[in-house]
Amino acid sequence: MQRIKRGGWLVVSAWLTACGGQGESSFCATHGGEHWRHRDQQPALVVDYAARGKLAVQLLLPAEGGAIGSDLAPRDILELPAGCSATALRRDRRDGRVRLRFEADCGDEPPADLSVPLLEGPGGLREMEVTMTTPAVRKHFVIHRDCERALFNVGGEAAGD
């Protein structure tokens, strides 16, 4: 009986001391809540995914970083499946930010997989606030190059509100 007890405590101790989680950095754990401090200097992506495969996409860039968007095409912001058609990218200013926007129509086959290539490559963005609305749900989060997962519980109103 004593051996069983000792063995049990040994196993518990081993778990609690040796099997630590491989959590992300403390930056990733806290940045979602602190993002509002510098959100005006960060780009924001707003995707409205309506029913029937229609999408409205906006990329809001800080005024001083407007040059980033000068040579962008819709596919550089959101990669769509082959069956989708997109309007030309329009550029204007809104609330002191540069706004790039386009619409896409994917017809009867709404895409289940969308890709945002803006963080790729050496010239890609480091951080981006994202709001996406589908007929069922709206999600608001931050994507950061140094964080494996999206950061939720972002303080402040979503871009595009």
Binding site: M1, I4, V12, C19, V47, Y49, D113, L114, T134, V137
Partner: protein, 460 residues
Amino acid sequence: MQWFRLFATGEDRPVSADSDAIDWAYQRHRRDVIVIITLCYGLAYVCRLALNVVKKPLMDAGIFTPEQLGIIGSTLLYGYALGKFTNGFLADHAHVGRFFAAGLLLSACANLGMGLSDLLWLSALLWGLNGWFQGFGAPSSVVSLAHWYSNHERGRYYGIWSTAHSIGEGLTYLGVAWLIAAPPKGLGLDWPWGFWVPAAICVVAALLVLRYLPDRPRALGLPSVADWRQDHSAIASAASNGSVWKTQLRILAIPSIWVLALASSSMYVTRYAINSWGNVYLQEIRGFDLFDANLFIFLNTAAGILGCVAYGFASDKWFNARRPPANLLFGLMELLPLFVIFWGPDDPLILAAALVVYGFGLSGILASLGGLFAIDIAPKRVAGAAMGFIGVFSYVGAGLQDYISGRLISASEIALRFPREGGETVVYFYDYSAPILFWVGASVVSLVLASSLWRVRATD
């Protein structure tokens, strides 16, 4: 084989002649039994429900899709259904302290493995085995109650033991959620801790059970509890009658039992849908954080304690022990709040109130479909077999629900990918419209089936 005998109940020993020593031993063991089975069966629940709390972090981390989580979740329920069938027979022959402790330890091992696994087949296997190990607890507790409490007091102690469900669900939906929820509401630990801490809790529970849950009184040299309390039943034991097996088979020929089994199975679809996917829905669609979402689910389970008691009172006092009218009343109390929860105003207070009423109604009607009404309809000497039959049906329904729900949720998936240097971040979007129709529809079917037994009367 020698090792296997460790789990067998001891041989009957000669009864001591010292009545003071017998009284002292009985008082000490009876106190230990009720405290340990209530506390440790409650703690065992934490190892059963941990997956429900970490489902959303697992989905967010891209480790499992909802469909895969549905497969994993369903294996536990199938394992538990199998356990309900087999472990009752085993517990009758076991030293319940060692048998229950073994179940807890094995369940802890399964949870430890779950925290280390990101493979579908391995997680499904571990969780399925966990379902079977979890099935060691209830029969061990019931056998202990039968051996240490006499006929006229067992109901009270059974009621105390029944609170273990709520202790366990509370510990899981609040405690485990607190571990995983982001600060400041929780500790923000990684999802594996949602399995490892319950595993540690179950190891502690196993040690307590091993130390304090005794074998049968006769194996300890004590008289049976009926002799000790002078509380003998006037009815001969069913086991002494050779026709019990035939009578058990006869329940399969009673149409009402089949209808009841289907009604219970449908109601278990909704019950386990809310317990397994409710907190994920509240996070995904309603935007609550992990802690708050689990707090809402806790409210429905807590209200369930009152629902059980209220059902018994209402059906006995208001409907002259007729279950169908009470079934309709509690069934409506279960069904109507579902419309408020899923399609009602977006107000947390209204949502909380709806979940409380839902939990209250659900527990009441479940107590009837899987217990009281079944016992009314079945021949009394084989009430256990009737409940076992309905129990297996119910958990198979619950298991199918987990898989179907996961599959329906997965079918609506939209993935938004962010490729970056060294990997990819993916955020998933789901639509719960189809699974919600399935969950609410199951309750409607259950209520219709239960109401179809309106004219069925209790048998002797």
